[in-house]
Amino acid sequence: MHNRTVEILVGAFMAAGLVAFFFLAMQVSNLSSSGNGDGYEVIARFDNIGSLKVRSPVTMAGVRIGRVSEIGFDRRTYEAVVTLRIESEYNVIPDDSFAKIFTAGLLGEQYIGLDPGGSDKFLQQGSEISLTQSALVLEEIIGQFLFSKAEEGDSFE
């Protein structure tokens, strides 16, 4: 085996390995859509965040504009404090926008949806979204449903 052939084959091997790695990085994973680092952070307080997680998407009209970057707990008000990192290109969101926690599909993951408000001031680094709606917890809804059914039953008698 000549030295040159060995070198060429080793070069081809390393190139193939690197191509495979880049394939995994670019094509298989979410590198192209992660977009972390830049952007600004706003916080929102919720009574109940359900199963919202760090890195859950933040959407507006169904388009992802950011991610949840941190979830904390306020020990005085017993509320969940969710920090949202919104990408810097979406910097004209009214500061009275409404943040709701939705579920994607029946059993899907939970995400935050923002409904735009009418204010002419915009959200900036560190501002707080005051209008929020908690996650729907299935057990609570079923409980309320049963409760109201039971009341209906009473009124018929």
């Binding site: 085996m1 030295n3 060995v6 070198e7 084959l9 080793v10 081809a12 091997f13 390393m14 193939a16 390995g17 690197l18 191509v19 495979a20 790695f21 394939f23 995994l24 990085a25 094509q27 298989v28 994973s29 979410n30 590198l31 192209s32 859509s33 992660s34």
Partner: protein, 259 residues
């Protein structure tokens, strides 16, 4: 009674001695790294025999493992009407676990055993002593290039395995079973995270490359210099490497993905 206790003690001391010799050898191999850098030709030749010659078995296995994952995954997922997440299933299991682990097992069988046999025979035919007579350190001249060749080759082979596996899963899922192309890739890209999944898989394959090559070299260097000794060392290489890979995989998975 005392005899059996003494036998147990002897076994324990033997194990500890082997472990100690193994770590000293690893240290000596790393100390030889500065001498290797000006002579990359040695490294290149070893990457050829350790890495390039393993490409065929790794690629074929990766492709078929991916195809089987595609078939089995489709069978289960279609019962829930979730066959569009086939891409996620195939890619996650390959990138996180099967890529590094199966590639390392194949690597231990294909390249590790060859390394042990080569070095064991060098020892049995007194080539290593010959090198020492010529004032050439056999660890630096023979072991260091082989070690780093394995350490470099293993992640590349694992990446090749995973990439071809994903393609294999795509051929079966998208081509044969009619899963929607766009959903296959889009779901995969949405759910597989570069840091969480891909980088952790690469870290795993570096660890496995280090461990497999180290075990192979140590077994060869430490073997009884007879034909029987070399054959036993080769067997031990494959067994120990496989067990080490599977055990370490559990520990690494618990560290990386456990919360």
């Amino acid at each position: 009674m005392l005899d059996s206790l003494a036998r147990l003690g002897r076994v324990g001391i033997g194990v500890l001695e082997r472990l100690g010799r193994g770590h000293l050898l690893l240290l000596a191999i790393f100390v030889g790294l500065p001498d290797l850098l000006p002579r990359l030709g040695l490294l290149l030749r070893q990457i050829y025999s350790v890495g390039v010659l393993s490409v065929l078995i790794i690629s074929v296995s990766g492709l078929f493992v991916g195809m089987v994952l595609g078939l089995q995954g489709y069978y289960i997922l279609s019962q829930f009407g979730a066959e569009q997440t086939l891409g996620v299933m195939v890619a996650a299991s390959l990138v996180r676990e099967l890529g590094p682990v199966v590639a390392a097992l194949l690597f231990a069988g294909r390249a590790g055993s060859a390394l042990t046999a080569e070095i064991g025979l060098m020892k049995a035919t007194e080539q290593l002593s010959g090198l020492e007579m010529m004032a050439v350190d056999p660890v630096r001249r023979v072991l260091t290039p082989r070690f780093f060749a394995g350490f470099i080759s293993m992640p590349l082979l694992a990446a090749l395995f995973s990439a071809l596996g994903v393609l294999g899963g795509y051929f079966v899922g998208g081509g044969l079973l009619g899963v929607d192309d766009g959903a296959f890739w889009a779901q995969m890209q949405a759910k597989i995270d570069l840091h969480e999944d891909v980088y952790n898989g690469v870290i795993k394959s570096f660890v496995f490359g280090l461990v497999c090559t180290w075990i192979a070299l140590f077994q060869g260097y430490d073997c009884v210099p007879t034909s029987e000794g070399v054959s036993r060392a080769t067997t031990r290489t494959v067994v120990h490497s496989s067990l080490a890979v599977l055990g370490l995989d559990f520990i690494l998975t618990a560290l990386m993905f456990g919360e």
